[in-house]
């Protein structure tokens, strides 16, 4: 240590003692101008055996205890260096040298865990909720929020404790060391904006060293200090990452990204999900944003550009929003009875409905009677009858199941039906719907529901209620009602078959 540095430090040590209380804040402001002081203090901390270390630690603690924010931040800026000093010494099992650093760190910790009245401090924050209006939004504009268990539990704002209460600590033990250090880093992170770039660099170095010492990567980084592995906790790494993130975005790109890589490396080896989670997120979020702050010292990499305000997503793409607005033609008010009936109806729809549907066609009762006959007659007979109306392709499809027992074929058929129905969803358009298509679309919408498990909106739109009314009246009219033969030639064979079977 140079004599000049020593002089600077000694002067600093003496001047605060003689300071009257009233001059403290002015003094705090003037510290910024002492250019040689901070580097000299770093030197004192790094050289563990310096005689000055003890008075310096004492003075730093006095600063912290003064309660003057600027003096506290002056002390805090050395925190990463102090932490490294403590950890490296404890790893080297050389306990007596770090006594004063331990005392300083414990002192800060014990000051910070209590509030002004000496009560245990509990750090908490409010988890915002979109279901409560805020200065930035109105719940109604957000639309529906998924009703998860968590969403319900968080309905309204909840205050969540993220640190504390903590126990007062007299000494560092292996058990409490990282608890205390994690909390100290939390304090440091709360004042990140006030930290100098030297302090941020020191934080990055601390992170790298803590994570790689004793691991093969140490050689890669060419760090020659201690080579024992240091135990870490996931929470400690998360706090380190928070600081590194700030450093990365505020001018320390090179050291910061190195440190982040090292922390992630260690988190992988230790299988710490929390640190991996946050570290991955930072890496991925910075991946796109080019960090171009190297050009100017201390420049911030927060860059904003004018972005186009129109949506970049083309309008015809199916999005969550557009699908939410999509009105599935649902008319599930029709009482479909047993699943057997349901299937039969869909069968009719499948083979027999190849073309467009005239709006004036009224074959509704046919299907209903059809389904009833299905129940009355044997299913096999029913199917044979209907085969007449089928295309040869459909025959092929049905050939297998037909020969086997009905029960066996049910599932296969049903699944085939669903497929065909999905493709024929465009059949029901509007206005006078035939019950055939209506029931078919009901089957469709039900099967869709099963697939989409309730993604579709509740069917409160007026078309479905209309359909409900319509179908009710149909049921009142009873099964005996037969419509005139449809004018669609393609369809007629199948219908005549139905009628025949009914009679």
């Amino acid at each position: 240590m140079l004599a000049m540095d020593q002089g600077v430090v000694e002067e600093w040590l003496s001047e605060f003692k003689t300071l009257p209380d009233s001059a403290v804040s002015n003094y705090a402001a003037s510290l910024r101008d002492k250019g040689a002081l901070v580097p000299a203090l770093y030197k004192v901390i790094r050289e563990n055996y310096s005689d000055l270390l003890e008075p310096v630690c004492h003075q730093l603690f006095e600063f912290y205890r003064s309660g003057e924010p600027q003096l506290q931040r002056f002390t805090l800026q050395f925190l990463p260096e102090l932490l490294w000093s403590l950890l490296s010494v404890s790893a080297a099992r050389d306990p007596h040298t770090s006594g004063c650093i331990e005392a300083l760190l414990l002192g800060i910790y014990n000051l910070e865990i209590v509030d002004k009245d000496g009560q245990s401090k509990i750090l908490s924050f409010t988890v915002p909720s979109l279901s409560k209006p805020s200065v930035y939004h109105e719940p109604s504009a957000i639309g529906s929020i998924a009703l998860t268990e968590g969403a319900l539990a968080n309905h309204g704002l909840s205050r969540v404790v993220y640190s504390g209460p903590h126990l007062q600590r007299e000494t560092f033990t292996a058990q409490n060391r990282f608890e205390v250090l994690t909390f100290l880093l939390l304090c440091y992170n709360a004042a990140l904006s006030y930290m100098t770039s030297t302090s941020l660099q020191s934080l990055c170095q601390l992170s790298s060293r803590v994570c790689i010492c004793g691991y093969p990567r140490q050689q890669m980084r060419r760090y020659k200090g201690i080579s024992t592995r240091l135990t870490v906790t996931s929470e400690f790494l998360v706090q380190l990452i928070t600081g590194i993130h700030y450093a990365l975005c505020n001018g320390e790109v090179e050291l910061g990204s190195k440190a982040l890589d090292d922390v992630l490396y260690r988190a992988q080896l230790e299988l710490f999900p929390e640190a991996l989670l946050v570290g991955n997120a930072i890496k991925s979020s910075l991946h796109g944003a080019a960090l171009k702050s190297n050009n100017k010292e201390g420049a911030r990499s927060i860059q904003v550009e004018i972005t186009p305000t129109s949506s970049r997503i083309s309008r015809n793409a199916v999005t969550s929003l557009s699908i939410r607005g999509h009105r599935w033609k649902r008319h599930d008010a029709v009482d479909l009875g047993s699943p057997d009936e349901l299937m039969d109806i869909s069968e009719v729809d499948e083979g027999v409905w190849p073309g467009g549907v005239g709006p004036d066609m009224t074959p509704p009762t046919i299907t209903i009677s059809n389904s009833v006959t299905t129940l009355n007659l044997g299913a096999k007979a029913m199917k044979k009858c209907r085969l007449g109306g089928r295309t040869s392709k459909d025959k092929d499809k049905e050939a297998g199941p037909l020969t086997t027992g009905r029960a066996n074929s049910e599932n296969i058929e049903l699944s085939i039906k669903r497929l065909t129905l999905t493709s024929s969803q465009s059949v029901p358009k509007a206005g006078a719907l035939t019950s055939l298509t209506r029931t078919a679309s009901a089957v469709f919408s039900r099967s869709f529901e099963q697939v989409a498990s309730g993604n579709a909106p509740p069917s409160s739109n007026h078309t479905s209620s209309e359909a409900a009314r319509y179908s009710c009246s149909l049921q009142e009219e009873g099964l005996g009602y037969l419509s005139p033969a449809p004018n669609h030639t393609q369809r007629s064979p199948s219908i005549s078959v139905h009628l025949g079977s009914d009679l």
């Binding site: 805020s134 200065v135 989670l277 946050v278 930072i282 004018i306 557009s322």
Partner: protein, 845 residues
């Protein structure tokens, strides 16, 4: 009359077309207008000029950052119309202003910035243009005018570059132009939507409406250029302020996309550039001196210095949530962005929409990454896992999103789901050894799915050299799986088979990574379990050399010393370990045992008392579940206490069971379920549910009871047991202790009943089996006694006292040869028996 009426109707119609940008209808309307009155000609010129200029801009939109175009032939006509309108001077003042403003805009489009400033903006004072009562189109026009003026001012160099004072003044003028433009633009958009939604009804239909307003170059610039300049100048305070102003304005359809971008950007700034101490809330005035601003630039103003007669509507009402902390605000903004990003998720997977899908994925992943940063900082992994679950609609084949979800589930303690998601991650990225290792960690730890763990560990090993540093971890993992399987196995041959495999795997791990203390430690532990005490001592020393203050290594060392009957040394080691880990109950249990051995039960009782004190101070104050939702752990535990009565005590220091034992399956199932529910524990703490403190407490009482029984004080022992029974009435440990007390009182029938009850809850509790065997022996029911003891030996072949009892029974039955063998085995085992089973040391990755 009719003419005037239709005339005003015509005017309304024109106003409507201008407001709705229906420029194609204007020429026809102008024709009609000119037919009414000759004085309308000037207005007609103005309208024609405007409509042609706007149509031109619609067809040839100006891009951000594009250079000026120079004179355009298509705009010649526009200039002619506007000049005509201006020159005759017959226009009303309002229209005259409009014409000048349009002329200035034309000049900007043609690149004549100086002209725009000198000859047009000098004539119109933009501040004189009335906002109150202005028709919608004029609001837009004024906003564009301010933006254009700002653009021109930026393009034209300051008159005297030498005067820095002048420069900052000019910069301020530019910013004010843009800020006013932005404010009026927001007002215009709100008003415009009011008009259109007044026509349609006010239902928030998400489907495509007739037309969305498009902002165009000038309004976009007006809305955004101000904060861009602020950030470029390093004036973060003012930039953040501007962001907040824009976000506080009530949203409308056109601003949604802008709001989403700005909300995300503001969140980024809050997370990347601010800290708790430099934060100020959106409703507070910014600090006068802030570390956020570039100190090298002088003349920053922190608040705006203009007022407008009309301002955009802002969110208002009672009980508005206003963030008080940077994480809160970032979170709120991100949740808003997330809901929008989620809405825009492109679901169709047809190739034509590939680009759209990538865009929607990117904008969403940025938001989810930021959410992860914000919530991770605050330890809110439960909430994070729910958010990331919503990201799953983007996640098809997207490794990053799957992996993040898996990690968040793991951090939230939802282990079973995490393993399922990790499986998908492995499918997407089969080369990464970390993923299967994370899965093994869960399978070994909270889930106790040993077969799955086996599969995952083998995946890592099969990667071979590719797994690099993780290869050793892979062997460690599979060793742990085998080791736990050995503990679970009920057949002695399977046990030995697994122990052999475990030993092999740990040896492999240790040779691959000689500097890893865990490999050495688990090797030592496995050797200890197989009673190779000296070898185990060698490796535990090695582990301690690598990691001097590892609690488990120290504990193992003490147990190994106790196995060699060096009880005092063992106690010294435990005390040393306790000086580093004063609150470690596992160490304290061993200490109690050793103390009653070396220093008498009084000392041991003092330790029990000390444990109760620690327990109280620890759980009364500390809140290890970081997200305690406001209440302390103790409160939550008390709330859970009602359910406790129905549960057994799955204790981790139970001699036979170790951390989790498959045969006490009911217990471990309960624990599994609990760890899924109690999802908010920190990872460093052992992942037990909220039951954990109560189990510890019951454990302490039982240890005290044991000390009292050894002192032959049944009343005190009974009282202690009662305390434990209050917490876990159906625990086999409680019942076992009751049996011991009954035995102490000489009440053999009661004791037998208690032991039988204990065995009905945990049929493989070896200590109970041993005591029951002894009682049956005393009752001279030799064959039953022999059966029970033989079962006990099957479960744990290293329990020397069971062998001893078995020998006694066999002797009583006259089977001297077999008895001798049993006694010899007992003797041999006793020589290497630790004071507490080695398996009380937890095995986890």
């Amino acid at each position: 009359m009719t003419a005037r009426k239709s005339g005003s109707r015509l005017e309304t119609e024109i106003e409507r077309c201008r407001s709705e940008s229906q420029w194609d209808k204007i020429p026809e309307l102008v024709r009609q207008l000119s037919a009414k009155l000759i004085s309308n000609d000037d207005l007609g010129e103005l309208l024609l000029g405007e409509c042609k200029l706007q149509t031109y801009l619609k067809e040839n939109p100006i891009k951000q950052g594009a250079s000026p175009r120079g004179p355009q032939p298509k705009l010649v006509e526009v200039r002619k119309h506007l000049t005509a309108a201006l020159d005759r001077g017959n226009l009303k003042a309002d229209y005259l202003q409009e014409a000048s403003v349009l002329m200035a805009k034309l000049c900007y489009v043609e690149g004549e910035h100086r002209d725009a400033l000198g000859s047009h903006y000098s004539k119109v004072n933009l501040d004189d243009m009335q906002l109150l009562g202005a028709p919608v189109y004029r609001l837009s026009m004024i906003a564009e005018a301010y933006a254009t003026k700002g653009l021109c001012l930026e393009k034209v160099p300051a008159a005297s570059p030498s005067l820095s004072n002048k420069n900052t003044e000019r910069e301020q003028e530019i910013i004010t132009c843009y800020e006013k433009s932005g404010d009026i633009a927001l007002l215009y958009l709100q008003e415009a939507e009011k008009v259109t939604s007044g026509i349609q009804n006010r239902s928030p239909k998400p489907g495509p409406t007739a037309q969305d307003l498009e902002l165009g170059y000038f309004l976009e610039t007006g809305l955004q250029r101000a904060h861009v300049i602020h950030f470029k100048n390093g004036n973060l305070t003012r930039g953040v302020g501007r962001f907040r102003e824009i976000l506080r304005a009530v949203e409308n359809r056109t601003t949604q996309s802008l709001r989403m971008t700005i909300a995300r950007q503001l969140a980024e700034i809050l997370l990347r550039g601010m800290c708790e101490q430099s934060y100020w809330s959106p409703l507070e005035d910014p600090p006068t001196v802030s570390p956020l601003d570039d100190p090298t630039r002088q003349g920053h103003t922190h608040s705006k210095n203009y007022t407008l007669s009309r301002r955009p509507r802002v969110y208002s009402g009672e009980n508005l949530f206003c963030p008080q902390e940077n994480t809160e605000e970032a979170l709120l903004l991100l949740l808003i962005s997330e809901s929008m990003a989620n809405r825009d998720a492109v679901l169709s997977r047809i190739p034509e929409h590939n680009n759209d899908r990538i865009i929607s994925l990117q904008s969403a992943s940025v938001v989810y990454d930021l959410l992860t940063i914000a919530l991770g900082r605050r330890g809110q992994y439960e909430m994070l896992s729910e958010c990331l679950e919503r990201a799953m609609k983007f996640a098809f084949e997207e490794f990053h999103l799957w992996y993040q979800l898996a990690l968040s589930l793991m951090a939230a303690g939802k282990s079973a789901r995490a393993v399922k998601v990790l499986k998908e991650c492995i499918r997407l990225k089969p080369d990464d050894p970390t993923i299967p290792l994370l899965a093994v960690k869960l399978c070994i730890g909270p889930l106790h799915w040993l077969d799955e763990g086996d599969c995952f560990a083998k995946m890592v090993i099969d990667m071979g050299e590719k797994a690099a540093e993780f290869r050793a971890k892979g062997y460690l993992a599979i060793g742990l799986v085998y080791s736990l399987k050995a503990t679970d196995a009920s057949l002695r041959s399977t046990q030995e088979e697994y122990q052999r495999k475990a030993l092999g795997a740990f040896q492999r791990a240790q040779s691959l990574s000689p500097t890893d203390h865990l490999a050495a430690f688990y090797l030592a532990l496995q050797l200890a379990v197989s009673r190779q005490i000296p070898e185990a001592l060698g490796y535990v020393r090695q582990a301690l050399q690598l990691q001097g203050d590892d609690v488990h290594s120290l504990h193992l060392l003490a147990l190994l010393l106790s196995a060699q009957k060096h009880y005092h040394d063992a106690l010294n080691i435990i005390e040393m370990a306790l000086s580093e880990y004063p609150e470690n109950f596992n160490l304290l249990y061993t200490k109690v045992k050793l103390e009653s051995m070396c220093r008498g039960p009084e000392e041991a009782l003092l330790t029990c008392k000390h444990m109760l004190q620690i327990w109280k101070s620890f759980y009364n104050l500390t809140n290890p579940s970081d997200s305690g939702r406001g209440s302390s752990l103790l409160d939550r535990a008390i709330a859970d206490r009602r359910q406790l009565n129905a549960m057994t005590l799955p204790d981790f220091s139970d001699p036979e069971t170790g951390s989790v034992h498959a045969t006490s399956i009911a217990a471990s199932r309960v624990e599994q379920a609990l760890s899924e529910v109690a999802s908010s524990l920190q990872s460093s703490a052992p992942k037990q549910g909220p039951m954990h403190p109560w189990m510890t407490l019951a454990q302490i009482w039982l240890h005290a009871a044991e000390v009292y029984t050894s002192m032959s004080k049944p009343a005190e022992a009974s009282a202690c047991t009662q305390e434990a029974a209050n917490l876990f009435p159906t625990s086999h440990n409680v019942l076992y202790m009751r049996g011991q007390i009954a035995e102490l009182r000489g009440n053999m029938d009661d004791a037998k009943r208690w032991y039988e009850e204990a065995l009905s809850i945990n049929p493989t509790h070896v200590k109970t089996m041993q005591r029951l065997g002894l009682i049956l022996h005393q009752l001279q029911r030799y064959s039953l006694s022999e059966k029970v003891l033989r079962d006990a030996v099957q479960v744990n072949s290293t329990a020397h006292d069971v062998w001893n009892s078995l020998g006694e029974v066999l002797q009583a039955q006259g089977n001297a040869a077999a008895a001798t063998e049993c006694f010899l085995t007992a003797l041999e085992l006793e020589a290497s028996s630790p004071i507490l089973p080695f398996t009380i040391i937890p095995r986890a990755l």
